[in-house]
């Protein structure tokens, strides 16, 4: 056969020039190891958002004017009493000045009690009186503090700049995408470190505590947590090594697969640097995964080698023969993994695309390291036969015979009907799977993490929340001087305030009403939008552009909605209502556009994730089906492999519903990865079966042969992979825990499905041929 001759040629080519091959691998490894040592953690806000989503286009268009969603909030708190003491004000000033000088912080946007834009206004008989809340000649003595206290009350900043209970004060700013001092992309992680080093560790002492939240800080904490992954990596290697040793009973055959898999990881990391990527904290798990997949394929290799050695072949012959038999199924399996990862490219979110590239790169490397390097290395080993006693034990023939019953039509009926029931239940419950984040706080981190504790403290003590969405009103220049425009905004705002989940809202319209009352002696009866244009302009003119409520020429004005939380349901409800009221109120001159603010980003991400889910599944299954059809040239074989896989994906969604894990940027890839990796088991088992079936063997016999040949390898692979990912349960990062749970489930259950459901299906599909 043609393909056979190709394989032959490859085999001969490689094994005749073993030294050359080894040298090439060595040189590449040295080069890539150097490159890998240069790798850096790389995170940016922009990578986490679906840039081409219509909301995000609006967001990016107006980011310059309104600072966008990438903010930093620092709450300085007194643990023992209120803020009115010298120690507190000294610390607050220190934090304000320090934040101002951190590169990447938008200095114009730095706001606190100490910023000159924090002013109070009071109504007196002949108009307004006002000034900065902290006067120029402020001294933190009793008199000075008393003045500041009364200014704070007049300024109406309690709940925003000062906590409701007067124990904390806020310093906040937005961050720029480009660091102006270097002209390069802002290094979010280094900024987070600076916040920690220059602010938290400097000023958190005595009674003063510092609470920092915002995307940059969150990423910094995620990166920190991600470093803990290195420890898990060590544990995973150790456990894996034990498993492989238990399987191979050979020191050499344990060391080699681990070594080759580590080489893969080095290559992958090196390649990332070569193509100019960093490692995002969100995809830090990928090296793990690549290692685990590498080992699982290596296990197939040593399994085959061992069997051949025990039959009396030399190490070289065994290696060469194993290479020949495993090249095709190994390639197919690894290619389907690669394609599974590549389908993630269809999702328009930077981090997921990076994950797709990082992971597919890694898996492609496995083809070289574990299918070529490993057998070549093995060929140099001197391997001895197992003892007769051991051999007998290894066969496990009794166990396999029991398992092979799954391939009889009788058992198949039971298995398939149970599977069908599980599938129906899974399909039913998976309908309730939620899109987006289901928990309060930063979902990447645990609830009891410092970051989330700080988030809870800030949302608890202040009226503000980090969960807000800005609806951008796009109008025409000087639109804000028109009563009509502001009245429409006001109506929109009021209707949105009535939507459950919206805590409060602010816009130029609502502020203009308050200012109008201010101009009328503070009389609440004048708290409305003046129809008189001069009065209206007078009111608007008191709202500076730094308020973030209007742009320079007053053609763009956000309506900012503060939400109770960022749970998917809340976001959906609010976004739906925004769309409804926008469609009622939009006209030629004025449009309400979604969206900016952290929740605006989440809404876009949720929509992008939801929209990506179906196409991604279609692509990944299409890829798996095509690859199976090519390698088995049989529809029945393809069905036997793919159907159990689909049932398991459905069950995984059920699990997500049950465990309150939402479909997010971090869990969406798991489904694709799970399918891509889960298909390996089926492919290995069926590749042996298919040959036998083609030769007219019964399904039972074919399956028994497959089990004897590959069964223990498949079991070991499944368990190894599952153990590797289950170490993530102990991660500091919530999303890693979620991914770990789902991956472990996918690996174990896909293995079970390949051993139980696949033969049952095969026994039905090949029945008439018996």
């Amino acid at each position: 056969m043609n393909s056979e001759s190709v394989i032959n040629r490859i085999e001969v080519g490689i094994f005749r020039h073993r030294l050359t091959v080894l040298f090439l691998f060595l040189a590449t490894t040295i080069f890539l190891a150097y490159q890998a040592s240069q790798i850096r953690l790389d995170a940016s806000f922009i990578k986490n958002i679906p840039l081409n989503h219509s909301y995000m286009k609006t967001y990016l268009k107006h980011q310059e004017n309104f600072g966008g969603a990438n903010n930093i909030l620092i709450s300085v708190c007194n643990k023992d009493g209120d803020i009115f003491n010298e120690e507190f004000f000294t610390s607050l000033k220190g934090v304000h000045d320090q934040l101002f000088f951190i590169p990447g912080v938008d200095r114009i946007q730095v706001k606190s009690l100490y910023s000159p834009s924090t002013r109070f206004v009071e109504v007196v008989e002949d108009g307004f009186a006002g000034g900065p809340v902290i006067p120029a000649d402020f001294k933190p003595d009793e008199r000075g503090l008393a003045i500041v206290k009364s200014n704070i009350e007049k300024a109406g900043i309690v709940g925003r700049t000062i906590s409701d209970d007067y124990t904390c004060a806020m310093v906040q700013s937005s961050l720029m995408d480009i660091d102006p001092s270097t002209g390069k992309k802002l290094d979010t992680i280094s900024l987070a470190n600076q916040l920690e080093d220059q602010i938290r560790s400097q000023y958190e002492k005595g009674n003063i505590s510092i609470h920092i939240i915002g995307f940059a800080k969150m990423v910094g904490d995620v990166a920190l947590g991600a470093k803990g992954v290195v420890a898990f990596f060590g544990i995973a290697i150790a456990i894996t090594a034990l498993m492989v040793f238990f399987f191979s009973k050979s020191f050499k055959l344990t060391l080699l697969p681990i070594f080759c898999s580590l080489v893969t990881v080095v290559w992958q990391m090196g390649m990332l640097t070569v193509i100019g990527f960093g490692l995002d904290p969100m995809s830090i798990l990928v090296p793990f995964l690549v290692f685990a997949i590498g080992v699982s394929h290596a296990v197939q290799m040593i399994n085959s080698v061992k069997k051949l050695v025990n039959q009396g072949y030399s190490a070289k012959e065994s290696a060469q023969f194993s290479f020949r038999t495993l090249l095709v199924p190994g390639m197919v399996a690894l290619l389907s993994d690669t394609v599974g990862f590549l389908t993630l490219l269809s999702i328009d979110i930077g981090v997921i695309r990076e994950l797709a590239i990082t992971a597919s790169l890694g898996v492609a490397m496995i083809i070289l390291t574990n299918l070529i390097l490993l057998p070549v290395l093995i060929s140099y080993m001197s391997l001895s036969k197992d003892s007769e006693e051991q051999l007998e034990k290894n066969k496990n023939i009794e166990v396999w015979k029991k398992l092979a019953v799954f391939a009889t039509p009788k058992a198949a009926k039971v298995i398939l009907s149970i599977t069908a029931m599980l599938f129906v239940a899974g399909a039913y419950y998976s309908q309730q799977m939620k899109i987006g984040e289901l928990h309060a706080g930063a979902p990447a981190l645990h609830e009891d993490s410092r970051y989330n504790q700080d988030t809870f403290l800030i949302t608890d003590k202040y009226a503000i929340t980090v969960d807000y969405i800005s609806v951008i009103v796009e109008a025409y220049p000087n639109a804000c001087t028109s009563h009509e425009t502001l009245a429409v905004m006001d109506e929109f705002q009021w209707k949105m305030e009535n939507v459950p989940g919206v805590d409060s809202a602010i816009s130029l319209a609502s502020v203009a009403k308050i200012v109008n009352a201010g101009y009328n002696e503070g009389n609440p009866k004048w708290r409305s939008l003046s129809r008189n244009q001069q009065s209206l302009v007078q009111s608007i003119s008191r709202v500076p552009t730094s308020s973030g409520l209007l742009d320079r020429n007053c053609s763009v004005m956000p309506v900012i909605l503060f939400l109770e939380d960022h749970k998917a349901e809340t976001i959906n409800r609010v976004v739906d209502k925004v769309k409804l009221y926008a469609s009622e109120l939009n006209n030629e001159q004025l449009q309400f556009k979604l969206a900016s603010g952290p929740v605006g980003v989440m809404a876009a991400t949720n929509e992008a994730v939801e929209a990506a889910q179906l196409p991604m599944m279609i692509y990944v299954y299409a890829a798996v089906i095509v690859l199976c059809l090519i390698s088995f040239r049989s529809v029945r074989a393809t069905i036997s492999v793919v159907l159990p896989l689909y049932v398991v994906s459905t069950l995984a969604q059920w699990l997500m519903t049950k465990l309150d894990i939402g479909l997010t940027v971090s869990t969406l890839p798991v489904i694709a990865l799970g399918v891509g990796i889960g298909v390996d088991y089926g492919i290995y088992i069926l590749s042996t079966m298919a040959t036998r079936l083609r030769n007219g063997d019964t399904v039972y016999n074919a399956y028994l042969a497959a089990l004897t040949e590959r069964g223990s390898a498949v079991l070991i692979t499944g368990v190894t992979l599952a153990i590797g990912v289950s170490t993530w349960f102990f991660s500091d990062l919530k999303f890693q825990v979620d991914m770990g749970i789902l991956m472990t489930f996918m690996f174990l259950v896909n293995m079970l499905a390949a051993i139980v459901v696949l033969p049952a299906l095969a026994s039905i599909l090949w029945r008439e041929k018996k």
Partner: protein, 335 residues
């Protein structure tokens, strides 16, 4: 033909009361938490509150509120009921609304957004005779229960030099004269009926009384140049007036001159709430709630923690029900 003229007539009469068709108020779940500006009782068993976005809220227990059907979204500033069924509400866009079913449904008697001014209070002597007052000395009178409202210009609130100036302007430039005339008077903030006497308070220390239901007014001598927002005759028969920056004054029935009362607050005082006893309350911005049991000579502070403006109130079934910029509040005072 008859029908045609009927049509033209109805069209003309419509133009007379409204210069554009307003949109009706939206039924909002949070209407009772919105900015509400006045509250009163319609009969003994019904509360009516009015406020922003044309909100009118009704309640029979002070706890559960229903939003009425209102044909405008203008901010309503005051409400007055002559009996349990008939009432009027006024507000921005010089709106005047009437109800004849205890507040459930309202119809427009006047809607003039082009004036760009709010009406701020309304009072009725009987079912036919009423007054509506507002910004820049806006003053309307009806003698037919509100079917027609006639504008009046009360020159008695002008200084002689203002009158001279206006007359001069009238000779030179009619348009400028009308423009000036429409904004030369002070804001009329509140009108209070005390038997046959009417009191009105407003901007620039305005306090005035009328014995002929507002046809002619006698301004009091100026005691303060800031604004006043409410005036009431106490149970003991003395006058109490409150205004800007915590200012309050008393005038005893014996006609002694006004005396300043120390309220110990700088907040704007919105209104006075009388009770069946000698206890009275003053409501103010910044969560200011004062009570007095000695006829307004001394006050006890009951600051409301949220610091929201308390705007108007009434005692209903023994409870103080207040409207604020965050809606209805039932305030229990612990002594």
């Amino acid at each position: 033909m008859k029908q045609f003229w009927a049509f033209v007539f109805s069209f003309l009469s419509f133009v007379a009361v409204a210069d554009q068709t307003p949109s009706p108020s939206w039924q909002a779940p949070l209407a009772n938490k919105s900015l509400l500006l006045d509250i009163t009782t319609a009969g003994a068993d019904r509360l009516v509150a009015v406020g922003e976005y044309g909100h009118v809220l009704l309640s029979t227990d002070g706890e559960n509120w229903q939003q009425a059907n209102v044909p405008v979204t203008s901010t309503l500033t005051a409400v007055y009921f002559i009996n349990s069924q008939k009432g009027w509400a006024v507000g921005h866009d010089a709106s005047i609304l009437q109800t004849t079913d205890g507040g459930a449904t309202w119809s427009i008697q006047q809607f003039f957004p082009h004036l760009e001014k709010p009406l701020l209070d309304v009072v009725f002597k009987d079912e036919l005779n009423g007054l509506a007052i507002g910004a820049y000395g806006m003053f309307y009178r009806t003698q037919d229960g509100g079917n027609t409202w006639i504008k009046e210009f009360h020159e008695e609130f002008l200084f002689q030099e203002d009158i001279d100036y206006l007359n001069e302007l009238k000779q030179e430039d009619e348009e400028a004269y009308l423009d000036e005339r429409s904004s030369i008077l002070p804001h009329f903030n509140r009108i209070t009926m005390d038997g046959r006497t009417l009191y009105m308070v407003g901007e620039i220390g305005l306090i005035a009384k009328s014995n002929d239901f507002g046809k002619s007014w006698q301004p009091f001598d100026e005691i303060y140049q800031g604004s006043f927002f409410d005036l009431e005759r106490t149970r003991k028969g003395n006058l109490l007036v409150v205004g800007l920056r915590g200012n309050a004054f008393r005038s005893l029935r014996n006609g002694a001159p006004w005396q300043a009362v120390d309220t110990e607050t700088q907040a704007l005082l919105n209104s006075i709430v009388l009770t069946d006893t000698n206890l009275l309350y003053i409501l103010g911005n910044s969560g200011v709630l004062l009570s007095s049991e000695d006829d307004g000579q001394t006050f006890t502070h009951h600051p409301q923690a949220d610091g929201k403006a308390l705007i108007a109130g009434t005692v209903f079934h023994g409870k103080l029900i207040v409207v604020s910029d965050v809606g209805i509040k039932t305030i229990t005072i612990f002594k």
